[in-house]
Symmetry: C2
Subunit: 602 residues, 2 copies
């Protein structure tokens, strides 16, 4: 079982650790210190040694940071964690701060007259620190990079992970690493740059056609790299992570050196060196400056080609989605049989779902901890069930299940919301009306064709329009980028009001509008989709469209068919027909019967 349900937070230890940190600060002449939940690779999942925020405060959320000052220690958490933080930290010593509504700069100024605040430059990007520094301009407060003072007082801090790297076959990647490196090296030469620093693990894994095992959920390798303009690459990662086979796959143009060699290597660089200010740790550009190397800000050149999947990656991902869809159908069939009887809990559901995925014999990992919210828990957008929060799956309520898998041929991410037993009350205010509006938004994105050149921002309103009309909305993006057996959240592609990145063929995204009624229910429907040139139609304009990758029934019992347009209804019936055709041959006889009913035309 990949997922666990114990909440490891222990508020009791925080105060003593905080006191010890303040002593250390005093000794260093510092007035404060910043502790982010971050590692040097800006990853969503961090290794145990990087769980500094949790160790210090008790807070286990996946995002946030603590700013320790002499008289206050603020734990900055976003909307998802406002309730959770209160149960996980000692509120006499730690103060939750509603972020990003409250910005760290003004908060510091409110609580500190003057002094120096330390931070670990490996855990913050240049952009982050510059933004914070701007807000402290014209005050008597300064920021100063230091060694990590939490590491100093954490006696049993775990070691850095040593997960084994492994080959991601060229056949699945669709391009060799040599080809990718040659293309990027040409880009560097064209830009007059001699090298690029790579700090993002998924960039590294994509570029080298390898995967790793340094953190859960994301099959990534922790390491840094320097790509030279002649296509050679120096990889700074623990040599013991690489067996002979992987070394042979990397080839003679890739040199593996220990992480300790990274900083000295920066000092040997010459010419203009490309660094991504939005993702690279500040420490990297500081070292380059110290070494008098000419560092130039520029986006990590791996990000865009990594986002635009090759035909081979898309084909493999399609296969992964059919396998995952079949497991989902077995799961939904089981759920429909068991849940209406009562007695199931959220943890039972999560466990069963992982079991169905495991039964494929090809589950590498789940792609994130399953979100399984029954009734009012569905309204908590990033709910992760624990032993203490575990709730019964209750007939007459909704159940929201957001889950995914890592298979070597692709990463999946799917959300379905189901009626448990008889659907909740109908009417314009009811769950079915809300479900139908969310579905309409999802269908709008599924059907859209648009002129090449538009960004996710331009499509985002289409997913919200049916909700807006009823005075409703959802407070998250419509879609995030998804990797090919890589991170389930990858950039730069998004469907979001803040995304100006033009959508390009091959980009995989989620399509996941939702609706959340606090204390009552949550609805989210999510398919993965891939950008593709649109087939000829009408005036034969240059349009792009989405191909849907996810094939799993949507709960027909929650759809108010009278609200759908002819086109929406046709899409849904065609989708369900395709689900049935693709999955019936792949599921058990019991599931086949369930599938036929679940995919019947409206």
């Amino acid at each position: 079982m990949h997922q666990t349900f114990n909440a490891t937070a222990n508020p009791a230890q925080g105060p003593a650790r905080l006191a010890q940190l303040r002593e250390t600060l005093d000794a260093q002449g510092l007035a404060g210190f910043v502790i982010p939940r971050a590692d040097a690779h800006q990853g969503e999942y961090v290794a145990a040694r990087d769980e500094r925020l949790q160790w210090l405060t008790g807070f286990t959320g996946s995002a946030g940071f603590c700013i320790v000052l002499p008289d206050i220690a603020g734990v900055f958490i976003d909307g998802r964690y406002r309730t959770q933080v209160k149960t996980q930290v000692d509120l006499a010593h730690f103060t939750p701060v509603a972020w990003p509504e409250v910005k760290p700069g003004p908060w510091i100024v409110d609580h500190l007259a003057q002094g120096t605040i330390g931070f670990d430059p490996w855990l913050h990007t240049a952009e982050e620190i510059e933004t914070l520094e701007k807000t402290l301009k014209d005050t008597a407060i300064t920021l100063c990079p230091t060694t990590n003072l939490v590491d100093k007082i954490w006696p049993d801090q775990p070691e850095a992970p040593l997960g084994k790297a492994f080959i991601h076959p060229d056949a699945l990647a669709g391009r060799t690493s040599a080809d990718k490196r040659a293309t990027l090296a040409a880009d560097l030469r064209k830009a007059g740059q001699t090298a690029m620093i790579i700090t993002l693990p998924d960039s590294l894994c994509w570029l080298l056609n390898i995967r790793g095992a340094d953190v859960p959920r994301n099959p990534i390798l922790h390491g840094f790299a320097i790509l030279h303009d002649d296509a050679r690459l120096t990889l700074f990662a623990e040599p013991e992570k690489f067996d002979d086979e992987t070394r042979a796959h990397l080839g003679p143009q890739v040199e593996i050196r220990p992480p300790t060699a990274f900083i000295p290597a920066l000092h040997t660089l010459q010419g203009a060196v490309r660094v991504d200010r939005t993702t690279a740790p500040l420490a990297v550009s500081r070292e380059l400056t110290e070494a008098r190397v000419d560092s130039v800000w520029g986006e990590d050149l791996c990000r865009l080609p990594k986002a635009c999947k090759t035909d081979a990656e898309i084909a493999a991902t399609r296969t992964a989605h059919l396998r995952d869809g079949a497991a989902m159908v077995e799961f939904l069939c089981w759920l429909d049989d068991q849940a209406p009887k009562g007695g199931l809990t959220e943890i039972d559901v999560v466990t069963a779902l992982e079991g169905f995925r495991r039964a494929t014999n090809q589950l590498h990992d789940i792609s994130f901890d399953t979100i399984c919210g029954s009734g009012p828990h569905g309204a908590i957008m990033h709910y992760r069930v624990t032993d203490s929060s575990n709730r019964a799956v209750t007939p007459g309520e909704l159940l929201l299940v957001d889950s995914g898998a890592q298979y070597v041929d692709g990463t999946t991410d799917i959300t379905r919301t189901m009626a448990i037993g008889p659907p909740p009350k109908t009417g314009p205010d009811g769950a079915a009306a809300a479900y139908t509006r969310v579905l309409q938004g999802m269908i709008a994105i599924s059907r859209v064709r648009w002129p090449r050149g538009l960004a996710g921002r331009d499509l985002d309103p289409l997913a919200r329009y049916p909700l807006w009309l009823a005075g409703m909305d959802f407070d998250h993006g419509t879609g995030h980028g998804v990797g090919a057996f890589l991170s389930v959240h990858e950039g730069p592609q998004r469907i979001s009001k803040v995304s100006d990145v033009p959508l390009q063929p091959g980009m995989i995204l989620s399509n996941e509008p939702g609706y959340y009624r606090e204390g009552a229910f949550g609805i989210r429907l999510e398919n993965l989709i891939v950008v593709t040139p649109a087939p000829k139609l009408g005036d034969d304009r240059d349009q792009l469209c989405f191909e849907t990758l996810t094939f799993v029934p949507l709960d027909r019992r929650l759809i108010d068919a009278t609200m759908l347009s002819v086109g929406e209804r046709e899409w849904l019936d065609a989708y369900h027909a395709e689900v049935a055709a693709k999955l019936a041959p792949r599921v058990s006889d019991t599931a086949k019967l369930w599938l036929a009913t679940a995919t019947a035309p409206l």
Copy 2:
């Protein structure tokens, strides 16, 4: 009659004038000269003396510019004028250039090795010249402001207009000029600025609650102004434009001085002076620099409050729209009676429509030359009928009529597309299907409620989605800002993929999706709408919505009702019911009968 139909272009005179201009350039040591269709106020309509482009080249379009070089004279025109330009200029001497696809900078570099190109700094903004200069960097070509060399060789150039200014009553404006000036002066003081230069006539008219008569169609006054941070204003305009009554209305805080006093006055300013680099002539900032006055770039402070109409302006505009709607209904009733018999031409239609508006006895002007395109002419987006282009209004075809009026209580702009006699063939490729998709886009904008803070860019896709789905689109924005008895095209509000200006209550916009099939037909449907807080609904989120201002039937004979969703159909029927209720009491008995049929539920 306001509109005329004679095409004044005379290609024959161009070559001699061009030769004379080149002689003048030689004498000045210049290699070239830029002749924009522009005045010092960046207006859409220019006075006769500013029709330099037309005088030199023969081209009469409403936008474009000519760059004269030793061996070539390029006439830069956008997509609207590609055909027209060929009939209006002598192609042996003038070369049409497809702009903005071809940019002036690279074009100049292609046709000139080195030398200095002159331009009149009163006719270009600072931003324009900077953009052009950037593209000439690293070449041996420079730009140099000079006197206007066309004016030098234009013997009978008309004088500057001397239209009388007149009072725009405070009751219609909803705020006194003193109040507006006090607010803006406070904004200046807050920004640490001592004065703002105003060069846009609609800003000036809005700020002073006056109107003018210096150009056709837009009731604006040509002039410059300096607003001081104590709310005093110096207005530079011909004193004879102002009668005693208008002077009294302007009050003692507004000093009128002749235009010749403007430059000397710039030299007397002290402190930081605000100039809008996107709208002020480059000459203004050059003079300030020469006078060592500290000029600061900043948006014209009138633009946003002018765009956000007061309750009084909105109420007055509603009245204007009902009057205009009644005239339109009389017109459509007449058209439906006459046109199917055959024998009408486009000019007959334009003339009749102006007649119906004139019959209200309140027509100040039309708000632009009516676009009346029969059959294939409908596909020419900015078609303006002339004696030579005039075409029969033919039964079995579509007729597109885009028109508007200036009344002292409001500016209107409306487009309807009608079937003349029996509607053209149906089917997914037919005019009715296209009409219905355009209508669906218009309805989507009419119905939308959106979270406060979004810009026109965020709503634009909603108007196109029904067309996109069929591989169709339209190559213009969905909506432009509209003034209150001011310019029919005003900024900064727009519904367009290039508009990041957040929509705010009180902004009036057009809602005008279209579809154009070259050589066959054009469809455009346009209502004016005003942004307003949305009534409470659903989760009571802070949403804005549009109130529709235009009430005129949409041609039911062209609607394929099977394509509409329940919501779209309900909107249309409700709209038509409102049209009938509002207009029936305002039209003739004949028109009343027609109206009842035209507004019947689908």
